[in-house]
């Protein structure tokens, strides 16, 4: 299914990259204490030497940049766009990052992570834009035209089906009320506060139910995997 996630908040690809989009816990002061401790902590390493070497055209520095970010970029692209042409998209994105650094568009090298994130998000927006326009052009020409499937593949679907089978067993083993609580949260995306209020639950009870279901799911999945291995050994 085509879907333009975060469409409205990603800038157009033509705009110059601004590393100040990178948020910083110290600067924005908007994170709670727990979040500030956990999310986006200041890097233990300095990015300046790496950025300077890339500016100077050092190929080892480019390899290092690739090693540091490629998995994360690949993951983000795959999460947003699916696995189709993923390596090409990764390559294009990486190239844009390197070229932008070499054009001195990254003013503060310490904001490299925010800079990379901005480039990746713009790439995602551009790919989604392309996909939607391709579909519109197509429907103008032919009634009933369909968007190329940019998300998921048969392997991923099979994996989800397999896990859903385990989940069905987990859900079958809990009370109707507990099932409703989890369904409200995971399927209907109601917030913890809303569910606790409407179902007369404490926060602790809610968390406990969630973690028990998850633990049960994990155990059953592990058991299933082991059974599969035993069967494989027997074959």
């Amino acid at each position: 299914m085509p879907e333009a996630s975060e469409w409205s908040v990603v800038e157009t690809p033509e705009q110059p990259v601004d590393e100040t989009e990178s948020s910083n816990s110290e600067q924005n002061g908007k994170l709670g204490a727990d979040e500030a401790a956990a999310a986006g902590s200041p890097p233990a390493r300095s990015w300046t030497p790496l950025v300077e070497q890339i500016r100077a055209g050092n190929s080892e520095a480019m390899t290092e940049l690739y090693r540091t970010f490629s998995r994360g970029i690949r993951y983000y692209l795959c999460r947003q766009l699916g696995s189709q042409d993923l390596e090409d998209k990764l390559h294009d994105t990486f190239l844009i990052v390197v070229q932008a650094i070499q054009r001195d568009e990254l003013r503060d090298p310490e904001k490299l992570m925010g800079f990379v994130r901005t480039v990746v998000r713009r790439q995602v927006a551009a790919y989604i834009d392309d996909a939607v326009h391709t579909r519109r052009d197509f429907t103008d020409l032919e009634v009933g035209g369909r968007v190329p499937d940019i998300r998921g593949n048969p392997e991923q679907r099979a994996m989800v089906d397999e896990k859903a089978e385990i989940m069905t067993k987990v859900l079958g083993g809990i009370s109707r009320r507990d099932r409703e609580i989890l369904t409200r949260f995971y399927l209907y995306e109601q917030t913890q506060e809303q569910i606790c209020e409407e179902m007369a639950l404490t926060e602790t009870q809610f968390r406990l139910l969630k973690s028990r279901a998850k633990a049960r799911f994990g155990e059953m999945g592990k058991r299933k995997l082991e059974r599969g291995r035993i069967l494989l050994r027997k074959v």
């Binding site: 299914m1 409205s8 994170l31 979040e35 986006g40 233990a44 540091t68 994360g72 429907t139 799911f217």
Partner: protein, 189 residues
């Protein structure tokens, strides 16, 4: 941990990110960490697979069981004959229009032709919560119906006043500036 960052994301942060509930102020921190931390990437992937599995399982459980169908059909017939009312005209089907996450493709949204439809539209994950309008168009892009939203719900319900014939439809969500935020495919059979 496989990088130089001392703090990984909490379970709550990962869950919030998977549901698109991280505030715009905090999302950059979370995504920057995810760019370089393979542990948190794995944890997020596991979380999203868990949510996807839950949804498939929960939806399967919600579907009516097969043996029930002949009884329901017989009941409809009795009512239609007895009351001179077409029972199907009051039937409302609930349809989930979901945005996919984690690169995992869920089953396409489908509905029955001629039934009254109640669409639950997945707007979770949009950083911009100012979704103002939903529109349904047919396969050629011609608008069929539209509704305004309050802009706060992550899964607003839209009861269509008109019934749809068989075909492919697209439900689009727009922000207040008229920019398209999301598009969902709906197959009516």
């Amino acid at each position: 941990m496989t990088n130089n960052y001392s703090h990984c994301l909490t379970d709550t942060q990962l869950e919030d990110y998977a549901f698109g509930r991280v505030s715009p102020e905090a999302v950059a921190d979370v995504e920057e960490h995810l760019l370089v931390c393979s542990d948190c990437q794995d944890r997020l992937q596991a979380e999203e697979e868990y949510i996807a599995a839950f949804r498939v399982a929960a939806r399967t459980a919600q579907r009516p069981v097969q043996w029930y169908k002949p009884l329901a059909a017989a009941a409809c017939l009795v009512m239609a004959v007895g009351l001179w009312l077409p029972f199907s005209s009051t039937k409302v089907d609930s349809v989930d229009l979901r945005a996919e996450r984690g690169g995992v493709l869920a089953p396409a949204a489908t509905a029955v032709a001629g039934h009254k439809l109640e669409l639950r539209v997945d707007l979770a994950g949009l950083e911009s919560r100012n979704t103002a309008r939903l529109q349904i168009v047919n396969a050629t892009g011609a608008p069929l119906a539209e509704t305004r939203l309050d802009g706060t719900s992550v899964a607003p319900m839209w009861t269509l006043n008109r019934k749809l014939g068989a075909g492919t439809y697209w439900v689009r969500a727009y922000d207040s500036g008229g920019k398209q935020l999301r598009e969902f495919k709906l197959d009516v059979e």
